[in-house]
């Protein structure tokens, strides 16, 4: 029997995985979400910003990572707009600024912002994407205007109201980097933080998050939200519940099924080996 268990068709495993993710979508079980210290630091830093402070958001991800990072983007944007923080959007990934637009659409559709929707060039600007990876950050350290001559809409950047008095990182109060890989958080730490002394927090895909923990410990990163759980924690802290919280049940079931697979796989292996 255990021999058969070890040789089980992979497609049966796939079915179990699919069921573990789909079934919880139809359930409504409220879960308590504990907040990790790294996410708490992000919120505390945001809370410490005065109204009118400038927050640079770097959208360094594409649609595949959106399930993890888009809820973080939406939560942070909602917090910023609610608290009158000025948001500057850029992307080191070409898809980033488009994801940012989708996140802003999400904010606008929220009833909380019905009477006071975020306005372009008053509450936020989208400077678009620029190729060059870490060189873009390096360039921004000297001049935002030279690095991003035009915004996402093709308008010369120096004509934007919000860009008046914004030359480089010294004019930015806080940077939030949402990253799915290279270029991303590592490059922002290396260049924006350690070279230009910017204050940076990061939202990472769970795959990348463990690699940047040393930066949190060394004080180079002011907070880290990792994966969908990080998104759910941010949503809880800022008080806007979204997809991060919604998907936590499916995430719980998914982890459980993988743990069950590991236990069953090991049990079958050791029992058959004894025989």
């Amino acid at each position: 029997m255990f021999d058969k268990l070890l040789k089980i068709d992979r497609r049966i495993i796939f079915i179990f995985v699919a069921l573990a993710l789909i079934v919880p979508m139809f359930l409504t079980i409220t879960q308590h979400i504990s907040v990790s210290p790294e996410v708490q630091i992000i919120y505390d830093t945001l809370k410490g910003l005065q109204p009118g402070s400038k927050v640079l958001m770097a959208f360094d991800y594409d649609p595949p990572s959106a399930p993890e990072l888009q809820p973080m983007a939406v939560a942070i944007l909602k917090y910023c707009f609610k608290n009158n923080l000025k948001v500057y959007i850029i992307g080191l990934w070409p898809q980033g600024p488009m994801q940012a637009n989708m996140a802003i659409d999400n904010v606008i559709s929220d009833p909380t912002f019905k009477d006071n929707p975020p306005i372009y060039d008053k509450d936020y600007v989208n400077l678009g994407f620029m190729s060059g990876n870490e060189l873009v950050i390096q360039g921004m350290g000297s001049s935002f205007l030279h690095t991003f001559p035009r915004d996402y809409l093709g308008k010369p950047t120096h004509q934007l109201e919000m860009m008046k008095g914004v030359n480089n990182f010294s004019n930015i109060d806080f940077i939030v980097n949402l990253s799915a890989g290279y270029p991303g958080t590592v490059e922002w730490v290396l260049f924006a933080v350690d070279r230009f002394h910017a204050k940076l927090a990061a939202g990472n895909t769970a795959v990348q998050a463990p690699q940047v923990y040393p930066y949190v410990h060394a004080g180079q990163l002011s907070g880290l939200a990792g994966g969908l759980k990080g998104a759910a924690e941010l949503e809880k802290l800022v008080g806007f519940y979204g997809k991060g919280t919604k998907f936590m049940l499916s995430q719980s079931f998914a982890h459980m099924i993988v743990i069950v697979f590991i236990i069953v796989g090991n049990a079958a292996y050791f029992i058959t080996r004894k025989k």
């Binding site: 210290p37 873009v136 759980k229």
Partner: protein, 217 residues
């Protein structure tokens, strides 16, 4: 000529950046700014090269009727499907505005394809967990235990299952501890090792000792 000039360019540019780090004043700051702005443009051309090369390879495949050549037609069709609307029917510089043809293809073709491609890995991770992760040795057992605590500690169900434990010892808190101490220590060792490797490789490249990237004559 074919190898020497690129090596000289590498050395001049590399040293400029290194000197600028220590002496961020005239003329190095100006020079560094200039080189950086050039790089943004060269990078764009480098990515264009990749896209154009894909077209070239696909066309070669079609002309030679290589294996699976009909799919190369689809690749080219996909390229044109987004490039033509992007250049001609999406309002020029405002090509990414919501509602443009480019945005439509991004949202409804590019986005589902790319998202699903990466999402598929979930199935294979689960399958690998079942078939490959065995606690055969002490080290493998440590790996499995760390994975166990982190997986349970990073979802709410972990705290539910460990609610009988005193505050501070629940799954989420154990996962926090693992991530912040032993995991960070291991990552840091890897990080320092890689950094030293990058430093030595960079120096070899700038000095022209390492020149394999230039290929043969």
């Amino acid at each position: 000529m074919r190898r020497e000039i690129p090596l000289i360019i590498t050395a001049i540019v590399g040293f400029t950046y290194i000197i600028q780090f220590f002496v961020p004043h005239w003329p190095f700051n100006i020079l560094e700014g200039l080189l950086t702005s050039w790089m943004l443009i060269i990078f764009a051309f480098a990515i264009w090269l990749g896209a154009l090369n894909l077209l070239k390879v696909s066309l070669d495949k079609i002309s030679k009727r290589s294996r699976d050549w009909p799919y190369a037609i689809i690749t080219i069709a996909g390229f044109l499907m987004i490039a033509i609307p992007g250049f001609l029917f999406s309002g020029g510089r405002r090509f990414q505005d919501p509602g443009t043809a480019f945005d439509y293809i991004y949202q409804n073709v590019y986005s589902p394809l790319s998202s699903t491609m990466f999402a598929m890995l979930a199935f294979y991770v689960a399958s690998a967990s079942y078939r490959a992760f065995r606690a055969r040795t002490k080290e493998a057992t440590l790996l499995l235990l760390a994975a166990f605590f982190v997986m349970l500690g990073r979802v709410p169900i972990g705290d539910v299952l460990s609610s009988f434990l005193p505050e501070g010892y629940r799954m989420s808190q154990m996962a926090d501890w693992i991530m912040n101490y032993p995991q960070t220590a291991g990552q840091r060792a890897i990080m320092i090792g890689i950094a030293l490797g990058i430093v030595s490789t960079s120096l070899r490249l700038i000095l022209g000792i390492e020149r394999s990237h230039l290929g043969g004559e």
